[in-house]
C-alpha cells in the first residue's frame, strides 16, 4: 500500500471512530459529574438499582475535587450542557443559585420529605430560602483522639474542649521517642485545605475575615492570637513538616498511630475506625475546640450535594435521580447491604433517629458538630457573608488560596506571623477593592 493511501485510510479510520461518539446518545440517559470519595463511589455501584426502577440510564464522570470544580464551573458558565447533574459543595451552591445557573429544587415529591434534611445543611444549600442542591452527605469537623494514650496519661478528654485543654492533651500524649506527635492539624496551602482549618480556628478565637463593610480584619488582635496559638501548638507537639500536611497526610499519620489527636472532617471518623487503621479500636471523639470565653467553636460545615444545571434537557430524569440518591430509601439500601456505618452521613434528621445508626460510635458527635455550626452566623462579631470555613462570594477561592499560601510560609518558618498577616490583609483588601466591594 502506498504512503498516500495509508495516510488516507488512517485519517478516515480515525474520523469514523471519532464520529462514533455522536451515535452513543440516548434519550433517557443522564450524565452526572461527581467527586472521587468513598460514598460517591459506593453510590455508583447501586446505579443499576435506580436504572431498573426507572428505566433511566446513568453515565458517571468522576473527577478529582479541584478538577471537578474547574470542569463544572466552565460548563455552567458557558452553558455547555455536558452534565445533567453536578456534584457541588456549599460554597458554590448559594452563588450559582443566586446567578440563576441552577434549577430550584422547590417541587420535590412529598415522599422525598424535604423537611427531613438537617436544617444547617438546608440553610447552607439554599439562596433566599430556595433549595438549589440536595445534600448527599454532610460533614462538620471534630476532635479525634487516642483513648489509649489519654488513659495512659491519666487524662480525660472533655466532650467540648477548649484550645488550652487541647494543648494540655497534646503535651501529655506527645512522645517523640515512640514517634507519636501530640496533635496533627492541616497546614497545607489551599482554601479548602489549610485555609479552611485556619479560618475556623480564627472563628474560635473571635476573628473574622471581614467587618460589615467588607474591610479585611487580619490586622486585628484575634487573628494574631489564633495564628500564634496554632503555630506554637504545632511547633511544640505537631509533626515535622506540618506546613505541607493536608487531610490525606494527617489521615495517614493518624492511621499509623503517629498522632495523639487530629482535628478534621467528621467524615474521617469512618476511616480512622475502619480496616486500614492500626488504631481503630482506640479512637474517641469530641467537639472542635474554642478559645476560653468565645462562643464559636472551630468546626466547619460542608456538604457534597447534587444540583441540576439550568438548561439541561433531562430535568425530570435528573430530579428523579436526586430524589433517589438523597432520599431515605437509598440510606436503607446501603444499610441493608453494607451496614449502618457505611451510609452517607450528615444529611437527614431521620438517620440520627434510627436506633441502629445511634449505635455507630461517631454518629452522635457528628450530629452534634453539624448542629453546632451556623453558616449564617459564623463568627462572634457580625459579618456580611454566609459560610463558616469560607466566604460565599466568587472572589473567595482565589483570594483565600493566596492568603493560605502566606500562612503556610509562616508555618514553615519562611516568614514571621506578623508578615503573613500583613500580606493577608493587603491581598484581601486589594481583591475586594478590585471586585467593587469596598
Amino acid at each position: 500500500m502506498s504512503l498516500k493511501s495509508t495516510l488516507c485510510a488512517a485519517t478516515a479510520l480515525s474520523l469514523i471512530a471519532a464520529s462514533g461518539a455522536f451515535a452513543d446518545s440516548h434519550s433517557a440517559t443522564i450524565t452526572i459529574a461527581t467527586v472521587n470519595n468513598g460514598d460517591m463511589i459506593r453510590m455508583q455501584g447501586y446505579t443499576d438499582t435506580f436504572t431498573e426502577a426507572t428505566g433511566i440510564a446513568v453515565e458517571w464522570v468522576t473527577l478529582e475535587e479541584n478538577v471537578l470544580r474547574q470542569r463544572v464551573t466552565t460548563d455552567i458558565t458557558t452553558k455547555g450542557g455536558a452534565f445533567d447533574i453536578m456534584t457541588i459543595g456549599m460554597y458554590e451552591t448559594p452563588i450559582w443559585g443566586a446567578n440563576g445557573w441552577l434549577v430550584p429544587l422547590d417541587d420535590l415529591s412529598a415522599e422525598y420529605d424535604v423537611d427531613d434534611i438537617l436544617p444547617a445543611m438546608r440553610g447552607g444549600l439554599s439562596h433566599e430560602g430556595t433549595l438549589y442542591a440536595a445534600p448527599f452527605y454532610g460533614e462538620s469537623s471534630m476532635v479525634m483522639y487516642r483513648t489509649d494514650l489519654m488513659e495512659a496519661a491519666g487524662m480525660e478528654m472533655p466532650t467540648a474542649p477548649t484550645w488550652q485543654q487541647i494543648r494540655d492533651a497534646a503535651a501529655a500524649m506527645d512522645d517523640p521517642e515512640n514517634d507519636i506527635n501530640g496533635v496533627c492539624l492541616r497546614g497545607k496551602a489551599g482554601w479548602g485545605e489549610g485555609g479552611a482549618f485556619i479560618t475556623v480556628t480564627g472563628n474560635s478565637f473571635g476573628a473574622r475575615w471581614f467587618d460589615e463593610d467588607w474591610n479585611a480584619q487580619f490586622d486585628q488582635p484575634e487573628w494574631a492570637e489564633a495564628l500564634n496559638f496554632y503555630v506554637n501548638l504545632m511547633n511544640d507537639y505537631g509533626p515535622e513538616g506540618y506546613a505541607t500536611n493536608g487531610f490525606n497526610e494527617n489521615l495517614s499519620l493518624f492511621n499509623q498511630g503517629k498522632c495523639g489527636m487530629w482535628i478534621d472532617a467528621t467524615v474521617a471518623a469512618s476511616f480512622v475506625t475502619g480496616d486500614d487503621s492500626t488504631v481503630a479500636d482506640s479512637v474517641g471523639f469530641a467537639l472542635a475546640p474554642n478559645n476560653e470565653g468565645v462562643e464559636k467553636r472551630a468546626n466547619w460545615l460542608w456538604a457534597w450535594a447534587l444540583a441540576i444545571p439550568a438548561g439541561t434537557q433531562q430535568e425530570a430524569a435528573a430530579k428523579k435521580f436526586i430524589e433517589w440518591a438523597t432520599g431515605t430509601g437509598y440510606i436503607e439500601l446501603v444499610a441493608a447491604n453494607e451496614g449502618w456505618a457505611n451510609v452517607p452521613p450528615g444529611a437527614r434528621t431521620s438517620l440520627y433517629e434510627t436506633p441502629e445508626y445511634q449505635a455507630v460510635p461517631f454518629a452522635q458527635m457528628t450530629l452534634d458538630s453539624i448542629n453546632a455550626a451556623d453558616p449564617t452566623n459564623p463568627t462572634v462579631d457580625p459579618v456580611p457573608y454566609v459560610g463558616i470555613q469560607f466566604v460565599a462570594i466568587p472572589e473567595f477561592a482565589g483570594m483565600a488560596t493566596e492568603v493560605s499560601q502566606e500562612f503556610s510560609a509562616a508555618y514553615a518558618g519562611q516568614q514571621t506571623i506578623e508578615e503573613a498577616l500583613a500580606k493577608a490583609q493587603a491581598i484581601t483588601n486589594e481583591t475586594m477593592e478590585a471586585a467593587g466591594y469596598r
Binding site: L3, K4, L7, A10, T11, S14, L15, A17, A18, S19, G20, A21, F22, D24, T31, A33, V35, N36, N37, G38, I41, Q44, E59, W60, V61, T62, L63, E64, E65, N66, V67, Q70, R71, T74, D75, T77, T78, K79, G80, G81, A82, F83, G192, E193, G246, F247, N248, L251, S252, L253, N255, Q256, K258, A265, V267, F271, D276, T278
Partner: protein, 276 residues
C-alpha cells in the same frame, strides 16, 4: 580533533548518566510498585520497597469500577488522529518553509512557537464557547482538532529541521523530470524524510497521549481519554494512593511500551539537527 577519553572519565560519565536516568525513572517505578500494595501499605512509614505481600486487588477494583478499554480507545483515537491530522498539515507547511523560504519565514516559525508559551487556561473560555457553539463538547473530533493545533508548532518545527537536511537539488531534479508539486512532496520528499516523519509522529503521539488540560476540560462521558481515567482515582479527602497508582500504571503502560520499542527513533528525533 578528538579528545582523549580516560577510563576514569568514562566511568564517571556512565555512573552520572545512570544516576540521572534512575532518578527520572524512580517516580514511575514507585507508582508501579505502589499499585501492588494495599492502601495501608501504600502509606506506610517507612516506605515499603519489596517486603510486602504483593496483591493484584487494586487492578481488580479499577477494572470493576471503570471501563478501561473505553478510555484507552479514546486515547488511541485522540493521540493517533491528532498526530495524523497534524502531519497532513505540517508536511506542506514545512516544505514551503524549508525549500522556498521568504524573508519572513524565520519570524513565522518563531511566532508559531510563541503560541506554545501561552498558558492553556488563558484560552479556556474562548475555546469552550466555540465548542459549545459548534456542538463539539465531549466529542472526539473536536478534541482531536484542539490537540492537533496544540502540537502543530512542534510538528512543523521538527519536520522543517528534517527537510532542511535534504538537498534541494534532489527536488529540483524531480521538478525537471516533470513532477508536479503534489508528486514532488508525496513521492520524492516524503519517502526521503520517512525517518524524520516517523520520529515526529512518535513524539507527538506521546505529547497528545499525555495532554491533561484540554482532555479533562472539554470531555464528559463520551470522549474522555486515559487522563480522565487517572483523574477519577485522585482525591484530596480519602486515601486512594494504591488504586490511583494502579490506574496510572494502566494508563502509562501502552505509551511506555511504545516508547521502549521506538526509543531509537525518538532519540534520533530529539537530537536531530543538534550537531551541525
Amino acid at each position: 580533533m578528538a579528545r582523549n577519553v580516560t577510563t576514569r572519565r568514562k566511568i564517571i560519565t556512565t555512573a552520572a548518566a545512570w544516576t540521572i536516568g534512575l532518578i527520572i525513572f524512580f517516580p514511575i517505578f514507585w507508582t508501579i510498585l505502589t499499585s501492588f500494595k494495599t492502601e495501608a501499605q501504600a502509606i506506610n512509614d517507612p516506605p515499603l520497597f519489596f517486603n510486602f505481600d504483593w496483591t493484584l486487588e487494586n487492578y481488580a477494583i479499577v477494572q470493576e469500577r471503570s471501563d478501561y478499554m473505553k478510555f484507552l480507545w479514546n486515547s488511541v483515537i485522540l493521540a493517533g488522529g491528532s498526530t495524523l491530522l497534524g502531519i497532513l498539515i505540517a508536511v506542506p507547511a514545512a516544505w514551503s518553509m524549508a525549500f522556498v523560504p521568504s524573508v519572513r519565514t524565520k519570524d513565522i516559525l518563531l511566532w508559531m512557537l510563541s503560541t506554545k508559551m501561552l498558558p492553556a487556561v488563558g484560552v479556556l473560555y474562548p475555546i469552550s464557547l466555540i465548542f459549545v457553539q459548534f456542538n463539539l463538547l465531549d466529542t472526539r473530533i473536536g478534541l482531536m482538532v484542539v490537540l492537533m493545533l496544540i502540537n502543530l508548532p512542534i510538528i512543523v518545527w521538527m519536520l522543517y529541521t528534517y527537510f532542511r537536511e535534504i538537498p534541494g537539488e534532489i527536488l529540483e531534479a524531480a521538478r525537471m523530470d516533470g513532477a508536479t508539486l503534489k508528486e514532488e512532496i508525496l513521492y520524492v520528499l516524503t519517502p526521503m524524510a520517512i525517518p524524520g516523519i516517523a520520529s515526529t509522529l512518535l513524539l507527538n503521539f506521546i505529547l497528545a497521549w499525555n495532554e491533561a488540560f484540554w482532555t479533562l476540560n472539554l470531555t464528559a462521558a463520551n470522549a474522555a481519554p486515559l487522563t480522565a481515567f487517572i483523574a477519577s482515582y485522585s482525591s484530596p479527602e480519602g486515601l486512594f494512593f494504591a488504586k490511583l497508582s494502579a490506574a496510572s500504571t494502566m494508563a502509562i503502560a501502552p505509551i511506555l511500551i511504545l516508547g521502549w520499542f521506538s526509543q531509537k527513533q525518538l532519540v534520533r528525533g530529539l537530537t536531530f539537527g543538534a550537531v551541525k
